[in-house]
């Protein structure tokens, strides 16, 4: 066993911290104990399942096609997740499918096409997972904001349309504001990295015994990839969703917005 492996005993000991959280919940009457225990158990089962599948995928004898199949599955799951989190957004699933596919293709081309990493299961799955996983939140924020902005600012949008502006122009100030909001948190995360928190990949590599500077280089590359992927996703969702919210003859469709 290497220094990074904690074993089942280490995992069991780390449950002490879950016990602390449960104890605090009981003490404060938060009634979150069941949720915490369920989440803890579920996370363990999910991660173990993924771990065993990864064992198969990273095996040098396994075809790389399995890794790509997993990437496709991740894109599909991301689309379902976006629909579950923003059901009020029309066509969110198809839009997310298109946007994440396009941005994943672009990002993976940069990573693997330019030779930053070799194309093997050990690199394809985790890198694609980080890029796609980080994009979901931004996609949901961007799409909900666009819908909200256009619903709330309908009088202004229609005043612009009534002046003869095409929908692309009439919606621009509102879509731009929504996209800025969706991207800002990722930009802030990128700025704060290293100062406020040590991100996961870097922490994992250091715990696994890698040279900290090597770990930093890997992490920086991943942060840039995530930023590029998130930005691509958000802009694609912005273009696709806005197009859906207007008719070809430049009318804003009726928007059923929840919570407004």
């Amino acid at each position: 066993m290497n220094d990074a492996a904690i074993g089942w005993a280490g995992l069991g000991l780390s449950l002490i911290l879950v016990g602390v959280a449960v104890g605090l919940s009981l003490w404060q009457g938060l009634r979150l104990e069941k949720d915490m225990l369920w989440a803890t158990g579920r996370a363990l089962v999910q991660l173990l399942a993924v771990g065993y599948v990864l064992l198969f995928i990273v095996d040098p004898d396994t075809s790389i096609l399995w890794a790509w199949a997993w990437v496709v599955l991740m894109v599909l799951v991301a689309s379902f997740t976006a629909r579950r989190r923003a059901p009020e957004v029309p066509g969110i699933m198809g839009l997310t499918l298109g946007a994440t596919s396009a941005s994943a293709a672009l990002s993976l081309f940069v990573v693997f096409g330019l030779g930053i990493y070799p194309v093997v299961g050990r690199t394809v799955v985790p890198i694609a997972g980080m890029m796609i996983g980080n994009s979901i939140g931004s996609i949901v924020v961007a799409s909900r904001r666009i819908l909200g902005e256009l619903a709330d600012r309908r009088p202004e949008v229609e005043a612009r349309l009534a002046l003869g502006q095409p929908w692309q122009q009439a919606s621009k100030p509102f879509v731009r504001s929504a996209l800025r909001t969706a991207l800002t948190s990722q930009i802030e995360n990128t700025k704060a990295v290293g100062l406020v928190f040590l991100p996961g990949a870097m922490t994992g590599l250091i715990l696994a015994g890698a040279d900290p500077v090597d770990a930093v280089l890997v992490q920086a590359a991943i942060m840039y990839l995530i930023l590029g992927c998130v930005a691509t996703n958000v802009v694609l969702i912005g273009l696709g969703l806005t197009r859906r919210l207007f008719t070809p003859d430049h009318r804003l469709v009726r928007l059923a917005r929840t919570g407004s």
Binding site: P155, A162, L163, D249, R251, R254
Partner: protein, 233 residues
């Protein structure tokens, strides 16, 4: 309703026009001719479908059935953007854009042929002085803001105007002032369709009156009863 002979085709002709939103019929088989000059007032109680009728004319809505013609040409054969610049629309609540009055007018035309003179002419037509050009649009009173929206519409040099209860949020003085402006614009050759639920205002403004009740053009007794103030909300 159209009485006097018109020079050229009417401004709008509606034949069997209905508008349904989901299960709700907003307008039901409207047959209507809007005169090519003067002020046509569409009057009716709240919820009668007056605003939707106006939105149809600007193609912010499309009819579920029937046909609308603009100066003799079917509306659905016209470029909607060009139509909207020909048929300017002023909404019930002013919707100023961020920035100055000049910024607002620039949304309608960022590069007018006559430069600032075109903006000043639009302001003058909307009864606003030249000093308004560089004022912040957020700081205008309700009446001034509505006039600025009218000026913004006039920058596109529309040949007709649609005004959707433009005085609903204004005090009496501002209301009368905007009515005077509308009359001047109409007399200068821009036919105008004005929507209101206010019978007194309809009486002051109308060259022609269309009464709309429950999504239908009211004729005969219903029309007379509404105009006599016997039918309310």
């Amino acid at each position: 309703m159209a009485a006097a002979p018109e020079p050229g085709p009417p401004l709008f002709e509606l034949a069997g026009v209905s508008l349904r939103l989901g299960d709700h019929t907003v307008l039901d088989h409207i047959d209507l001719t809007v005169a090519g000059r003067g002020i046509t007032v569409v009057v009716g109680p709240s919820g009668a479908g007056k605003s939707m009728l106006l939105r149809l004319l600007n193609r912010l809505e499309v009819p579920s059935e029937g046909e609308i013609r603009f100066r003799g040409r079917p509306l659905d054969t016209l470029d909607p953007l060009a139509l909207r610049r020909q048929v300017g629309m002023v909404f019930q609540r002013p919707a100023p854009f961020p920035g100055t009055v000049r910024d607002n007018l620039a949304v309608a035309d960022p590069d007018p042929k006559g430069g600032d003179d075109d903006y000043l002419a639009a302001l003058r037509s909307a009864d606003l002085g030249p000093d308004f050009l560089d004022r912040s649009a957020d700081e205008l009173s309700g009446g001034e803001s509505q006039r600025m929206c009218l000026a913004r519409t006039l920058v596109t040099n529309p040949s007709a105007l649609l005004m959707d209860e433009p005085t609903a949020a204004l005090d009496r003085d501002a209301r009368l002032r905007l009515e005077r402006t509308a009359r001047i614009l109409a007399d200068a050759g821009r036919p105008l369709v004005w929507v209101t639920h206010d019978l007194d205002q309809a009486e002051r403004l109308a060259d022609e009156t269309v009464v709309l009740v429950a999504g239908r053009v009211a004729e005969g007794g219903t029309r007379e009863r509404f105009l006599a103030g016997e039918v309310r909300e």
